[in-house]
Symmetry: C2
Subunit: 200 residues, 2 copies
């Protein structure tokens, strides 16, 4: 670049940071039998996914549950590491966990992003199944470079309910390894998805 | 391929499966202050990493600790999902956890692989730091296609002790996301590393 100052004037530089938000939802998800349930918050989901979100420059990591007691539990875990003794003991953990917002529903996440971005995000479901409309990682990686925000939704338990999946803008293809086994934990899947979409 | 049968005769096809073993070690690792310690076994490390190992066709996943009570704990977790009620409840979990071998030391892992492969594996350390001799993921991905076995070693706590790292055959470069923050959990790092090395 001939004039170093120009990078501050180039509107493209605003979008060099990914405009991606991530939500881990505990409703609506399905259990082993395919029934729609509200799953319980898992401590290490909050730690692992917030650390991955921070690593890959995700704007916010939403933890979604309609259950008030589960919201309190999630807030208590976060507070330990952001305000409590954990914050002094492990500042790197604080930086990750302070990106978390605990919220009632995906609809509320969309509203929150709308208030930040002045436009609702495009929604993206993740699934261990392939749908006729599933899009590939490379394709979505290039879509992410366009000038708008995206909300990637991860399901807990046995995954996102079909009713929810049918309403999103995009469905991301499943992660296939080098075997037919595809039963990754949501923590591991989140890391791999972010690496494929945003890794350098 | 003109003659479909030829694929069974082509010696290269033997090596289409990765010849990679993974070890998660609890000794020798360092704590926050850099002291060498033996860390405690974490339940979800066993679940998440065995599931990732199974997904990417890793040959065995070794859980390494010299502490007998920790070995008993790890075996109890594994047995619940491979022999206990968990095996019936969740067969996919069984398939993952039955790839785990609990073992005393990295030296014993090397001996075990030697007994299987008739040759000791090349050892590969992972680290969140970059070393002058660190090799890139693409480079190691191509090395993995050569005709011999490799043992990828993951450290718990604050990572593998320097003394151990100085003795391995290869050091893998750290995972860098799109920020300067690199504090992934070992569970997430394991998934991303396997995806980068063996993902299709």
């Amino acid at each position: 670049m001939k004039n170093p100052k120009s990078k501050f004037r180039n509107p493209k530089s605003i979008y060099s940071m990914p405009n991606l938000y991530v939500a881990l939802t505990h409703y609506p998800v399905v259990n082993k039998s395919g029934d729609i349930i509200t799953s319980a918050v898992t401590n290490l989901d909050l730690h692992d996914i917030s650390r991955a979100a921070k690593t890959y420059g995700v704007k916010s990591f939403y933890v979604v549950t309609p259950l008030k007691d589960q919201q309190v539990l999630a807030q208590r875990i976060i507070a330990h590491w952001t305000d409590g003794s954990g914050a002094t003991y492990n500042p790197a953990r604080r930086q990750a966990l302070e990106t978390i917002k605990v919220i009632d529903s995906i609809a509320d996440v969309v509203e929150d992003i709308k208030s930040i971005e002045n436009q609702g995000p495009k929604t993206v479901a993740t699934s261990a199944s392939r749908y006729p409309s599933s899009i590939g990682f490379e394709k979505f990686r290039s879509i992410l470079k366009t000038d708008r925000s995206y909300l990637l939704v991860l399901g807990t338990a046995w995954g996102l309910a079909e009713g929810f999946i049918s309403e999103v803008d995009y469905i991301l293809e499943p992660i296939m390894g080098s075997s037919n086994y595809n039963h990754l934990s949501v923590r591991t899947a989140a890391g791999i998805i972010l690496d494929r979409l945003l890794g350098v």
